[in-house]
Amino acid sequence: MTPLTGCLLVSSLLFAVGLAGALTRRNTILVLVGIELMLNAANLNFVAFWRFGHHAGPSTGVIFGLFSIGVAAAEAAVGLALILAVYRHAKTTDLSQLTGRPQ
């Protein structure tokens, strides 16, 4: 088992956990947390392929990962803001009740 395989296994696990959280949690914030997990699984893949790849340069995988984290931060901020707005409107963050249809 190469270090790369181990990294990929970890990231797969991380992605699966995130997916499961995103699919099963009712609370919007926890769904967002799940999505962040899946995103970080992808980031882990970037870094792993950069570290164990053949043409590793100083500014390829890592820079990509950094940008991805930055975008994720912005996305989390926007997501949380949306959740706040939804909460103010619907007085709930329960996704099963936020269907857009009249209850």
Partner: protein, 681 residues
């Protein structure tokens, strides 16, 4: 030339003013009686002044003035209309406006109690306007238009008391009967236009009454056109065989009878013949027909008048008879002879009708001469004027207008080179005229009050109150003054056309005249005058002998002639069964034609539309079925499919975000599997 003479330029005002009055009168309320009468009489008065001005203009220099103007374009030609002033028109204008004005004034009293007073004056003014327009028309077309309006007002005024069935029927009869004649006039007019290309009477040498265009026509065409135009005159002037409407027209108010059906409108036919006399005279046959029709009408109507019992019907038949004389006069002697009698007749017949109206008014609507009697005692003015009118109509020698005018006709007929029969017919007619007028006067004015002594079985209690003779009274001044004025003219007018000083004849023929008593003795005139005087005396004497000596005592008593010859008398009373003849022939024919036409219309002509309609309905049904079961059904099915699909897809989009994520996850998983397996494979 014409446009420089102011009177011709403003000639149109003469008919326009009464027309304007009629227009205003039509807008008035029923209550504005005084205003309606005032504008009608005012307009007529101004027209009279203008007519007198026009007359005076021609007086010292008789000439023919006209003013033509293009009216509308027909094809490449302009149809021209125009008006004219010549001695004939001027004399007629003065007569119509003057008599009309007097009758208007008379009507204010006669129609005083009528609730439709304003409507009456509106119609009268409309009539006057159209009649005056007819007189000044310098175009057969314009004349025809006015002619028809005059016919319309005649219809309206005969049927003025339209709630009476008899009046409504008489109005229709008058309108339809004259329409028969008018059809002839219209055809003649169209033919004339087709031949000469103009309907203007005078147009500086190019008018259809002038030498140039007339010489284009062949003799037969001329006769045809002249006779067709004469048809119109026959209808309007109540000549045989279209006289039937005129006696019935007496259902109208008496001033209407006086104005329209005695003095003016019925004379329009004579005027028409006089107006187209140049055309008539080129064709001798046409004038011959005119003379014969006139003579036969004169004798026929005089005969029938002998046996009538309605005061107005006697006068109506008398009018028919006198119109016959006018036609005879024009036919045998020319325009001036006929028009002289026309003018004289207009005055004395208007006088007689107004007198009869005064009697009727005084007797609260009684018209049967058998119910009258002794009226002389309480209506002295009416009696005196009526006597003057009677003597004028009979042609009492020397001092009455009818003598001179009728003698002129008889003299002309005597000298007619074709036949002397019209002369004898006219002479016998003169005798009969004197006879029936004496009969009427004896019945109405002499004797004593007659009234069926038996009480009225229907309403016995009301007989005393409604007995007309109890309430009889002399008429108001508005009625008697016109009577007196007309009586004056009935005497004086004779002297403008005596053989010694034929001023009117000369004026109409645009000559100058002088006094020449020697004329009286020439051409066998004196014996003729003596003979006709004897006839008149004979008629008067006979009438007095039969009716004056022993007036009947009761209204139900038989007439003296009826005792003598009941069958003849009844035939005459029925107008020699002309009405019945028409009912049996023309009307029955028309009825059958109507039945056949109705059948054809119902079952033949309408069959085609019915078939087309059925076919259309069938096609419509097919179209409808296709539309409903094919086009609509298919479209509906398609729409349902789309809707179902939409509903199915909408179920996927249920708003649960996590479901979307699940689909996404499943898709990614499937993609990953595909890539893995595909890579291996």
């Amino acid at each position: 030339m014409a446009s420089t003479v102011w009177i011709v330029r403003y000639l149109w005002l003469i008919p326009a003013l009464p027309l304007l009055a009629a227009g205003i009168g039509a807008l008035l309320k029923q209550r504005q009686r005084r205003f309606a009468a005032t504008i009608a009489i005012g307009a007529m008065g101004i027209s009279l002044v203008l007519a007198l001005a026009a007359f005076a203009h021609l007086l010292h220099e008789p000439q023919r003035l006209f003013l033509n103007f293009p009216w509308m374009q027909a094809g490449s030609d302009w149809v021209k209309l125009g008006w004219m002033l010549d001695p004939l028109a001027a004399v007629m204008l003065v007569m119509v406006t003057f008599v009309g004005l007097l009758i208007f004034i008379y009507s204010t009293a006669y129609m005083h109690h009528d609730e439709n007073f304003t409507r009456f004056f509106c119609f009268l003014s409309l009539f006057a306007g159209a009649m005056l327009g007819l007189l000044i028309a310098n175009s057969l077309l314009l004349l025809f238009m006015c002619w028809e309006v005059v016919g319309l007002t005649s219809y309206l005024l005969i049927g003025f008391w339209y709630e009476r069935p008899a009046a409504a029927a008489a109005a229709k009869k008058a309108f339809i009967t004259t329409r028969v004649g008018d059809l002839g006039l219209l055809l003649g007019m169209v033919w004339l236009y087709g031949q000469t290309g103009t309907l203007l009477f005078y147009d500086g040498g190019a008018g259809c009454m002038e030498q140039g265009p007339l010489s284009l026509l062949t003799a037969k065409t001329l006769t045809g056109i002249a006779l067709l135009i004469f048809c119109g005159a026959v209808g309007k002037s109540g000549q045989l065989p279209l006289h039937v409407w005129l006696p019935d027209a007496m259902e109208g108010p008496t001033p209407v009878s006086a104005l329209i059906h005695a003095a003016t409108m019925v004379a329009a036919g004579v005027y028409l013949v006089a107006r187209v006399y140049p055309l008539m005279s080129v064709s001798t046959n046409a004038l011959e027909v005119v003379a014969w029709v006139g003579a036969l009408t004169a004798i026929f109507a005089a005969l029938v008048a002998v046996a009538q019992d309605d005061i107005k019907r006697i006068l109506a038949y008398s009018t028919v008879s006198q119109l016959g004389y006018m036609m005879l006069g024009i036919g045998v002697g020319g325009v001036s002879v006929g028009i002289f009698h026309l003018i004289a007749h207009a005055f004395f017949k208007a006088l007689l009708f107004l007198g009869a109206g005064s009697v009727i008014h005084g007797l609260m609507g009684e018209q049967d001469i058998r119910e009258m009697g002794g009226v002389r005692k309480w209506m002295q003015v009416t009696f005196a004027t009526y006597a003057v009118g009677t003597l004028a109509l009979c042609g009492f020698p020397l001092f009455f207008s009818g003598f001179w005018s009728k003698d002129a006709i008889l003299h002309a007929a005597y000298g007619w080179n074709i036949s002397r029969v019209p002369f004898y017919l006219g002479a016998i007619g003169a005798l009969l005229t004197a006879f029936y007028m004496t009969r009427q006067v004896c019945y109405v004015f002499f004797g004593h009050k007659r009234r069926d002594p038996a009480p009225d079985p229907i309403a016995p209690s009301e007989t005393a109150a409604s007995d007309p003779h109890e309430a009889a009274h002399e008429s108001p001044a508005a009625m008697t003054v016109p009577l007196m004025i007309l009586a004056g003219f009935a005497v004086l007018l004779g002297f403008i056309g005596t053989p010694a000083w034929p001023w009117l004849q000369a004026f109409l023929e645009m000559r100058h005249s002088g006094v020449d008593f020697g004329q009286l003795a020439e051409n066998g005139l004196l014996p003729l005058m003596l003979g006709s005087s004897l006839l008149v005396f004979a008629g008067l004497g006979l009438g007095w002998w039969i009716y004056g000596r022993r007036p009947i005592r009761h209204a139900a008593d038989a007439d003296a002639l009826e005792k003598l010859q009941p069958a003849v008398f009844h035939a005459l009373r029925q107008g020699l069964y002309i009405d019945q003849l028409y009912a049996q022939t023309v009307l029955r024919l028309a009825w059958w034609v109507a039945v056949v036409a109705n059948w054809l219309e119902r079952w033949v002509w309408s069959g085609i539309p019915l078939m087309v309609s059925a076919l259309t309905k069938g096609l419509g049904w097919i179209d409808f079925s296709l539309d409903r079961w094919v086009v609509n059904k298919g479209f509906d099915e398609g729409c349902d499919g789309v809707a179902d699909g939409g509903r199915l897809l909408a179920r996927l989009q249920d708003g649960r975000v996590q479901n979307y994520l699940r689909y996404l996850g499943a898709a990614v998983a499937a993609l990953a599997l595909f890539l893995l397996l595909g890579h291996r494979g």
